[in-house]
Amino acid sequence: MKNSIKITLLAVGIILFSTSCSKTKDDICDINIICYTEAPDDLYVKLELSTNPSSTPIEVRFYIGNMDNGELYDKFHTTNNVEYYLMPINERYTATAKYLVEGDTVMVIDSDRLSRESYKNCEETCYDWEDEIILNLKLKK
C-alpha cells in the first residue's frame, strides 16, 4: 500500500477515534460515586426576564413543546425578573416574553428540553440531572 493511502487512512482513523472514543460515565465502576437510582419525575424550568423598558408588565407565555405547534400552558403578565415552573421531564418547553421598546414590540423566544441522563456504575443504573433549565428571555439589545 502506498504511503499516501496509509497516511490518509491513518488521518481519518485518528479523527474518528479521537472524537468517538472518549471515556464516558458508562465505563466506570466506582463504589464511592453517589448513585441516584431513582430519577425525578419533575424538575424546574426557570424563566429569566429583563425589566420592560416601558416599565409596564411583560406578557409571558409558556408552552409545552414548541411555540408554533405546542400547547399553551400558561399566559400571564409580570414585573418579576424570574419565574419558575415545576414540570415533568422528557419534554421540550418554550417561553416567550413581549417587551415594548421605543414603540416596537420585541418578543423574546427561548426553548430547551427538560431531561435527565442515566449511566451504569458497577451494574447499577444511576441518574444525573440539572436542578433546572433556564429559558433566557432577556432583551439583548
Binding site: K2, A11, I15, S18, S22, T94, D104, I109
Partner: protein, 202 residues
C-alpha cells in the same frame, strides 16, 4: 466533555499536518509554471474540512468527493453548519420583532478550480483558486418546529491554494456567503483537503 473533544480534534488536525508537511523540502527551488497548463486525468477520492467565518459568524465545513489532480479541479459534496446558537432578530410585521436563537446549515455541491503558478522541488505547488458552492441553506430556531430562511443559492469565493504534499492541500481565501440573512456576507475561508493518491511514489 465538549471541550475535550474539541482539543482532540485540534490535536488530530495538527498531527495530520505533522505527517504531511516537510517545510525544509517545501520551499526549495521554486519554479514558475503556466497556471493554465493541465496534465493527464488523475481523479482521486478526497475529503476536506474547513471553516468560513467573520466577526459575526462562524461555520464549519466538511466535504467528500472528487479531487482531480491533473486538471486541478474538485467536485465535492459539502455540509456546513454553525456549531452554536446565535441570537438573531426577525421583523415579523410592522412594529413586531422576534429575538430568537438560530443555527444555520448548508448542503452544497462545491466546484473548485485551481491555477498553480509556482512549483517546488518536491512537487508542492502554490496558486490561486476559484470556488462556487451551489447549495441549499436553512436556519433552525429554538422554540420553532419549522426551519426558516430556506434558500437555494450560489456562494462564490477565491483565494490561495497550497498543495503541500501529493495528498494534501491547504487553502486560504474569501467566500461571499450571502444566503446567511443575519450576518455579514464577507467571510474568510480556511480549508484542508486530503486525497488518496496512489501515484505518490511515481
Amino acid at each position: 466533555m465538549l471541550h475535550n473533544k474539541g482539543r482532540k480534534v485540534v490535536f488530530s488536525i495538527l498531527f495530520i499536518f505533522s505527517l504531511t508537511v516537510n517545510p525544509l523540502k517545501t520551499f526549495a527551488q521554486p519554479l514558475a509554471i503556466n497556471p493554465f497548463a493541465v496534465s493527464y486525468f488523475q481523479p482521486k477520492f478526497g475529503i476536506n474540512l474547513g471553516t468560513f467565518f467573520n466577526h459575526q459568524d462562524f461555520l464549519f465545513d466538511f466535504g467528500i468527493g472528487l479531487e482531480e489532480l491533473g486538471y486541478d479541479f474538485s467536485i465535492t459534496f459539502n455540509g456546513s453548519f454553525r456549531p452554536y446558537y446565535k441570537t438573531v432578530y426577525f421583523k415579523e410585521s410592522d412594529n413586531l420583532y422576534w429575538q430568537i436563537e438560530e443555527k444555520v446549515v448548508q448542503f452544497s455541491i462545491d466546484l473548485e478550480k485551481r491555477f498553480y503558478f509556482l512549483e517546488f522541488d518536491n512537487n508542492s505547488k502554490i496558486g490561486l483558486y476559484g470556488i462556487l458552492k451551489t447549495g441549499y441553506f436553512y436556519g433552525t430556531y429554538k422554540g420553532l418546529s419549522k426551519n426558516r430562511n430556506q434558500d437555494f443559492g450560489l456562494t462564490p469565493g477565491g483565494g490561495i491554494a497550497w498543495q503541500f504534499s501529493k495528498i494534501a492541500r491547504f487553502s486560504v481565501g474569501y467566500l461571499y456567503f450571502n444566503q446567511n440573512p443575519y450576518a455579514h456576507p464577507h467571510t474568510f475561508n480556511l480549508k484542508l483537503s486530503l486525497y488518496i493518491n496512489k501515484d505518490e511514489q511515481q
